[in-house]
Amino acid sequence: MNIAPRRGGRLLLALIPFVLIAFVYVVGSAERRAANPDDKLLPPVSEMVESIGRLAFEEDRRSGEIVLWADTAASMQRLLMGLAIATLIGLAFGLALGLIPVAGAGLGTIVAVLSMIPPMAILPILFIVFGLGELSKVVLIVFGIAPFLIRDLALSVDSLPREQLIKAQSLGASTWQIAIRVVLPQIMPRLIEALRLSLGPAFLFLISAEAIAADLGLGYRIFLVRRYLSMDVILPYVAWITLLAYLMDFALAWLARRGFAWAYAGRSR
């Protein structure tokens, strides 16, 4: 418990599991190839590099687009729009619910109930109402994570010391002024943390929606090439999606530390 690795040691320790997994894969892939030269389940790294090189650097003969980047752009646009809209809704409603008792009493229950609806269960409704285009996918992401953000932010508003709000009022602040100057800045770090936790669900809803109805996107591609058992495309795509999600998570964590240093004073990591 008292032995803490230094910077370099920490990085090395973090890398070990990745190296191990890569090693196991390479060995397994080689074994299967030795037994069956036509094996498609664990393609060797060289084949994956070749396929992904084709998808990432050569134009598709049919559409004239570079497939990997077109997929990534389409998916990211949906994801970021969904996250942005959900964040705005979460902030506005979370703040209102947590700060204004009347809003909390009026909307708290309906938000709690809505958040219990499994988003995938209403995907057909979204497809029927909003069509098969971009809108239904964005709405699915918003519906999936906005209720969580609202409830989480309302709780974090609620956990602010009552003394602070009284103090602000005794300095002459109106409810609106308290909301934007006292409460909003203090829940921003929590908003970013909640967004980081929402990234996983957001990607889940994105990939699901794309798998069911799309003509472009990371999830669409994976489910398309599944028909040909193209593990040499699926595996790099999964790794790419994971990398994107991890980088977004990392960027949000950095933003929180950088922008709201006061909230992390006294924490070791």
Partner: protein, 266 residues
């Protein structure tokens, strides 16, 4: 400056009576110390004057007008903890008081108004001795410095009354002595009414010009919430020599008042 008067004030939470029959005239410019055992309604009394809650019965008047039922800029407050905003620097914490006043919509001042507010804030920060810490966040300040900041913040809007809820309870004796000097100087200079709730009797006698004690006059062992606390001692501390007693009510025990208990039985 403001005179505050309470007329036959009761505070009840359902069955439980916290304060009963509180009658009090607080002259403008008084430094009033409030003492009493835990649960005797000292903090409730402060919340009443703050406007955080209203009385169940009776009336509270400030300068002859009914007290507004929400906290306002005419009554500043310093709590024992959580009084300063952790997301603002020392300067920001004081400045925000001026920003609330000067900019209703955005609460941000610009240009000359901002410079004037900063100058005024810096003067207050200097008065409480935090000049060299003006760009630090509260998490980097000691408990005593945080309370000094809270005081600077509370007096920024020149409140007519300053309410202190055990403001120095969590501080060490040395820091506490410093804070006493600070608050006394502020009280003299600003001429406001100060109401301080404290557990420390020495502090209460040292600082106050008047001291009141809250306690329950009657107790019912079977129903602890049946009777509320009221002002049992009221001392004028302005004169030298023996302390003149303005009011004195002797607590009665249940044994001394058996008829009353019987009268309560169904």
């Amino acid at each position: 400056m403001s005179a505050i008067s309470l007329r036959d004030v009761w505070v009840e939470y359902g069955e439980q009576i916290v304060l009963e029959r509180v009658n009090l005239q607080i002259a403008a410019g008084t430094f009033l110390s409030v003492v009493g055992p835990s649960g005797a309604g000292k903090s409730t009394f402060l919340r009443l004057i703050l406007g955080q809650e209203g009385p169940s019965r009776g009336a509270i008047l400030i300068d002859g007008k009914p007290l507004p039922d929400e906290p306002g800029p005419d009554r500043g407050v310093v709590f024992q903890r959580y009084s300063v905003f952790p997301h603002l620097t020392v300067l920001g914490n004081v400045l925000i008081a001026f920003e609330f006043a000067g900019s209703p919509l955005l609460s941000r001042l610009t240009g000359a108004a901002r410079r004037a507010a900063i100058a005024e804030s810096e003067k207050l920060i200097e008065e409480v001795g935090l000049t060299q810490h003006r760009d630090k966040y509260p998490s980097a300040l000691s408990g005593g410095m945080q309370q000094r900041l809270a005081i600077a913040q509370a007096v920024a809007r020149k409140p007519r009354a300053l309410l202190l809820d055990e403001p120095f309870g969590a501080l060490d004796p040395g820091t506490r002595a410093q804070m006493h000097q600070l608050i006394r100087a502020l009280w003299r200079d600003c001429g406001m009414t100060v109401i301080m709730v404290t557990h420390d009797l020495k502090e209460a006698f040292n600082l106050g010009t008047r001291l009141i004690a809250f306690d329950k006059l009657r107790r019912d062992p079977q129903a602890p919430g049946r009777f509320g606390a009221t002002v049992t001692y009221d001392l004028d501390l302005t004169r030298d020599g023996p302390v003149p007693v303005l009011g004195f009510l002797k607590p009665l025990t249940a044994q001394q008042e058996p008829n009353h208990l019987q009268g309560e039985l169904p």
